[in-house]
């Protein structure tokens, strides 16, 4: 049985922008009509949009919130609740029982995640803050290089961002699956998003590269006519075009 099965899925971390519906009143019969009014004024604004229910501002006991009725009402308004954020542990447990799992905001513990001002007596210990650094928006760690990257050297930050505190000299090559930051002069080649991450960017305080590439889209020096050469610069991918913008 050496036959390899076809790949049926891939598990990857992803980050999404979601709207948060912060409840100020626990009663669905009060919230839903007001929400319905607002959405009638902007038809289609949030049709079938996934939404997170924010519990952090709610001053109510967990049993006061009828999550099932709330979910049903939201569905009727063509809004799809997918989880909760914030609130006490007991509150989150109630929501989970109704099918709304707790979500954690990127960036770790923020105000929404702190337990409500008056936690109920039966509160379970709050979830521990995520261990270790948590990089906003990327979830990647970073490789830090403090020596100059010299001609003929090649540095690859696999699955990570790359931070070079010095210079990347002509003839040197820096590669990262994530973003590349160069706090000296970038005079060699820089390849970001090496695993086809089109969101990866390249930052350099002195932008003077031989070649720039993001997710396989590249430009050699000759094609960098419009780039702010010699200045602090950010490079990103816009469709299939590399865009250069001054930094700061």
């Amino acid at each position: 049985m050496s036959q390899t099965l076809p790949e049926t899925f891939r598990l990857r971390a992803g980050n999404f922008n979601l709207l948060v519906l912060r409840l100020l009143d626990p009663r669905p019969e009060a919230v839903l009509p007001a929400l319905g009014d607002q959405f009638r004024r902007a038809p289609g604004f949030l049709r079938f949009a996934p939404i997170v229910i924010g519990l952090g501002d709610l001053e109510a006991a967990p049993e006061e919130v009828d999550f099932r009725a709330l979910i049903e009402g939201l569905h009727a308004l063509e809004i799809v609740p997918i989880g909760t954020s914030g609130g006490s542990a007991a509150m989150r447990k109630e929501a989970l029982a109704a099918g709304l799992p707790p979500l954690r905001a990127v960036g770790g513990k923020d105000a929404e995640e702190l337990p409500a001002a008056a936690p109920p007596p039966a509160a379970e210990p709050t979830e521990p803050a995520p261990a270790g650094p948590d990089f906003q928006g990327s979830g990647r760690s970073a490789m830090v290089v403090t020596e100059p990257v010299r001609s003929g050297q090649r540095i690859y930050a696999q699955g990570a961002d790359l931070i070079v505190t010095g210079t990347v000299n002509p003839g040197a090559e820096v590669i990262a699956d994530g973003n590349i930051h160069v706090y000296g002069a970038l005079r060699g080649r820089a390849v970001a998003g090496a695993q086809d991450d089109t969101e990866a960017r390249i930052f350099a305080l002195h932008f003077d590269p031989e070649l720039i590439a993001i997710a396989g889209f590249y430009a050699v020096r000759e094609q960098l006519g419009d780039a702010p050469i010699g200045r602090p610069t950010q490079v990103r991918l816009d469709g299939e075009e590399l865009r250069f913008a001054p930094l700061g």
């Binding site: 010299r150 001609s151 003929g152 000299n169 002509p170 002069a185 005079r187």
Partner: protein
Amino acid sequence: MAQVIVVTSGKGGVGKTTTSAAFATGLAQRGKKTVVIDFDVGLRNLDLIMGVERRVVFDIVNVIQGEARLNQALIRDKRTEGLAILPASQTRDKDALTREGVAGIIEELSADFDYILCDSPAGIEKGALLALYFADQAIVVTNPEVSSVRDSDRILGVLQSKSRRAEEKREKVKEHLLVTRYDPNRVERGEMLKLEDVREILAIPLLGVVPENESVLRASNTGTPVIMDTESVAGQAYKDAVGRFLGEELPHRFLEPDKKPGLFKRLFGGRAA
């Protein structure tokens, strides 16, 4: 234990052998027992520049292959006490050098000398890698010119990855930048890289700047290390560099273009032989 110093550059013709001869002589003049080894097997220039070519009997390859003892191959300099030269072979190629053989020679020399200078061949092939492998310190010789700077940058990367210190993850090889053939007037005209540009790219401490000077060619042709020409600006610049190497704080000289062309010509001599 002797300090092993490699004189290297990546690029050829920038002044490695001139620097090796001058530096070895300068260290010996300061009372340091110094031996300089020519690693450029197959070309053999160091003995010419040191003026000992007529005294070469055995060479480094003979020692490595057990055909001669180290003491038989070492040539004691007659002008400078405490200075010895281990010449390269002109009849063999670089494959005759082995890492074990070189290790044995350096170990044996360590007992008798304060400094062992290794005059590296150009390139980043076997001979150059062997010359830098045992180094504790490196003098990187660079001309103020783009390709020379690029090659020096390359060799600095090799030093930090392929030297014994790097392999054994010990404290890294101490690097010194020596800019040679510097002509302030041509720098001013934009024909040569500025010292600051070279320093910015290579980002290692500056040991000295040796101006382009006719005395260097004269010294080579007469087999006298240029540091012995105490009247010449190049000789003085090397003397300063040796002083800095030994820990003295000396201002860098010969960096400014001369205002009067007549005087400049007399002092620096342009490129005429």
